[in-house]
């Protein structure tokens, strides 16, 4: 059996009285693509943010490559975050920097890669997401689809072992969803471990190894995409699917 790269044990997270995550125990194996699906407000973003400690769990533990993140000091957490790229619904590109600078910043300031090497790598990543001709553009001049592909390239620049996606296509015009999903699909093919929060059923069906259905602070179902979509077990999932498939 392969050792899981991410292990979540009895994870709980509250904001004041609002208990968003109640008790989650799951694991992600290297190379797996997990799609997290569920109703809005169900805690999907919070869960994802607990994985790289952008949100500190109230209790429970998050292990990354065998290390319990919740017990580490800031410096070590920063080092482990490098290995978990994250892509946000709102892109969060740095608006005061060009596309190229966005990608080069972290390698240069965190890994202390020299300018030439960082530039070379940035161009390669931009080719990978089909945007090398936009290297010198500023984020505001990009379409949503282009911006999200730059954000993916930026995260990849740190050579992560895992990529976390939080509804990467939800803010996009429909005609741009495809170009982003294609890049993600390519990434999955190359063997990247991915945890993707999305409502794109097509993507889940064709790319995901497992689907986690999350609602009311629990992972209610953990199944293969085929099983989950054709034969949901819980009423909660049936109800959810009937709503979004309408």
């Amino acid at each position: 059996m392969t050792k899981p790269i991410i292990e979540v044990k009895n994870l709980a997270k509250s904001f004041g009285d609002n208990q968003v995550l109640k008790d989650i125990t799951e694991q992600v194996n290297p190379g797996q693509v997990i799609v997290v699906i569920g109703p809005s407000g169900g805690g999907k973003s919070t869960f994802l943010r607990c994985l790289n400690l952008l949100e500190h769990p109230t209790s429970g533990e998050v292990d990354f490559a065998g290390e319990n993140l919740t017990t580490l000091d800031d410096k070590r957490v920063n080092e482990l975050r490098e290995q978990m790229g994250m892509v946000f619904q709102g892109f969060n590109l740095f608006p005061n920097m060009t596309v190229l600078e966005n990608i080069k910043l972290a390698p240069m300031k965190v890994k202390h890669v020299d300018d030439a090497a960082a530039t070379k790598q940035a161009h390669e990543l931009l080719k990978q997401v089909n945007l090398d001709d936009h290297a010198d553009a500023f984020p505001t001049s990009l379409s949503g689809g282009q911006a999200q592909r730059v954000a993916i390239a930026r995260a990849l620049a740190m050579d992560p072992q895992v990529m976390l996606f939080d509804e990467p296509t939800s803010a996009l015009d429909p005609e741009m969803v495809g170009e982003v999903l294609n890049v993600m699909q390519e990434l999955a093919k190359q063997g990247m471990t991915m945890v993707v929060v999305t409502h794109e059923m097509g993507f889940a069906k064709s790319v995901a190894d497992r689907v986690w259905f999350m609602a009311d602070g629990y992972v209610q179902e953990n199944n293969t995409p085929d099983e989950f979509f054709s034969n949901p077990q819980t009423d909660r999932a049936k109800d959810f699917l009937s709503k979004i498939l309408m």
Binding site: N52, L54, D74, K75, N78, E79, R81, E82, M84, G85, M86, F88, G90, N92, L93, F94, P95, N96, L105, A106, K109, V110, F138, A151, R154, A155, M158, L164
Partner: protein, 492 residues
């Protein structure tokens, strides 16, 4: 060093308890090597309030503005007899004695009466001039007012802190006494009928009347002792050797009647040449100097204030251990304190207070005080700017493995600064106007220069109108320029 620290602590304390204690503390702390000190230094610094012709006033000599008058001649005589060079420093009358006590000047000659109250705090020479008081009125009122007793139900003006002011209060009944810092303002108030008379020393009154056809002088008939109408030079309390040396010069001045025979006529000549050309254009150089200093102060203060502001705002947002918490508290306290006290007081504190430890020139003191002040405000703008940067930016940077410091420096601050550019611009424009406060410590910025021109020309309104226009041109140009850059930055 230790003594300095004690002095400084004493000052801190007395600032809270009142200036009267300050004077005794610092004065008694000084020991008497005063004469030797001045002679070693080679200069005798004289403080004076040059808006009191013919005692002391500004005159344009060969295109350069300088302080002249009979008091300056007295000062020159004293300096010459001591074998040192006279340096004249101008400041408001109120600040003179503090400047003497804090060592900013060695000597004060400013038509000052050696009153018992003043004697408590400083040492006076023998009197070098025995004057008397007149009341200046509008010529059109000549039949109405005869002396101090004719002003029942009316208002008399006098220079704040002066003997005339105190006596006018004491020796009139049913008369309102209005104090103002400068005699030129008082004359202006008189001419605009805000007040009906201005009490001042006889020679001054004569100078004003001689130079302004609208004015007339009447006797005051104040009941006064000789010491109330006499003028003497003041030195720091306890500087006996210096006072004794100066007394030799003063006695000689008295014996030879130098004031009446030489000094007053000489001063009168300046007054004549001075008032030939009272066109504002004639004074363009004075105004230009004012603009120059105003801009120097503003630019330097915004620059240093900005650096201080960045540090303060970061300190205010520090979270974590004991050290960071202490830092945050300190920065917060500083910002609150500065924003809760008048800039004018801060300027005086830096000039007079820090002056006890290091001898800072007025311009440097002004820049330091305004930078310290502006830093507190800029810190708040920057904090606001940082808070206005979307949290997503921080999260993106942190998710890439960047530490909180790196994130702040490379991601948040650059964007925050872009956001606060307009506020910084406003601060700059505000400072162009507010830097005028340093005129109280004698920095020759616009307000100060306009006061000089006013007492120089006996014209109350024109110089004010001129600097008003200058201020507007400065701020308007600055705001256009800033807008231009702002637009350019947004295009990037």
């Amino acid at each position: 060093m230790k003594k300095r620290l004690v002095l400084f602590l004493a000052l801190m304390l007395t600032l809270v308890m009142g200036v009267s204690t300050l004077t005794t503390t610092t004065a008694s702390a000084a020991s008497d090597n005063s004469l030797a000190k001045v002679q070693k230094k080679g200069t005798l610094v004289m403080g004076t309030s040059p808006d009191y012709p013919p005692y002391e006033f500004q005159a344009t000599v060969h295109g350069k503005t300088k302080i002249v008058g009979m008091d300056v001649a007295v000062g020159q005589k004293i300096a010459k007899d001591l074998g040192v060079k006279l340096v004249v420093k101008s400041m408001s009358f109120d600040s003179l004695l503090v400047a003497l006590q804090t060592g900013k000047v060695d000597m004060v000659i400013s038509g000052m009466n050696p009153t018992p109250a003043r004697r408590k705090n400083v040492s006076f020479t023998h009197t070098y001039y025995q004057g008397g008081y007149s009341i200046v009125i509008n010529k059109s009122d000549k039949g109405i007012y005869k002396d101090k007793d004719s002003f029942v139900g009316k208002t008399i003006g006098a220079q704040t802190g002066s003997t005339m002011y105190n006596e006018s209060k004491k020796q009139t009944s049913g008369t309102t006494v209005k104090g103002m810092t400068s005699v030129s303002d008082l004359i202006l108030a008189l001419q605009s009928h805000k007040i009906q008379g201005v009490a001042m020393e006889k020679p001054s009154a004569q100078a004003y009347v001689a130079n302004n056809k609208e004015l007339a002088a009447i006797p005051s008939n104040f009941d006064l002792s000789a010491s109330d109408t006499s003028a003497a030079a003041a030195f720091a309390k306890g500087s006996t050797s210096l006072v004794q040396a100066a007394n030799k010069s003063v006695d000689q001045i008295k014996r030879q009647n130098l004031v009446n025979k030489t000094y007053l006529p000489a001063a009168g000549k300046y007054l004549k040449t001075n008032t030939v050309n009272t066109s504002m254009l004639h004074y363009w150089k004075a105004f230009l100097t004012g603009v120059e200093y105003t801009l120097i102060i503003t630019v330097c203060s915004v620059f240093f204030g900005f650096i201080l502001g960045v540090l303060l705002s970061l300190a205010r947002m520090a979270r974590g251990g004991v050290f960071k918490t202490a830092l945050r508290w300190l920065a917060t306290a500083y910002v609150e304190f500065i924003r809760g006290t008048p800039m004018m007081v801060q300027v005086m504190f830096v000039y007079f207070g820090l002056g006890l430890i290091v001898n800072l020139p007025a311009l440097a003191s002004g820049i330091i005080a305004i930078s310290l002040n502006s830093g507190a405000y800029i810190a708040e703008y920057i904090r606001g700017g940082i808070n206005s940067v979307d949290d997503g930016q921080t999260e993106a940077a942190r998710s890439l493995g960047m530490s909180s410091g790196t994130t702040m420096r490379y991601v948040v601050l650059p964007q925050a600064l872009k956001n606060i550019w307009p506020s910084l611009g406003n601060e700059f424009i505000t400072l162009i106007k507010d830097s005028s406060i340093v005129s109280i410590i004698g920095v020759s910025e616009l307000i100060f220069q306009s006061n000089i021109v006013r007492s120089d020309t006996y014209r109350g309104v024109a110089p004010i109108a001129v600097i008003m226009v200058i201020y507007f041109v400065l701020t308007f140009t600055a705001s256009r320029l800033l807008n231009y850059f702002e637009r350019k930055m947004q295009h990037d």
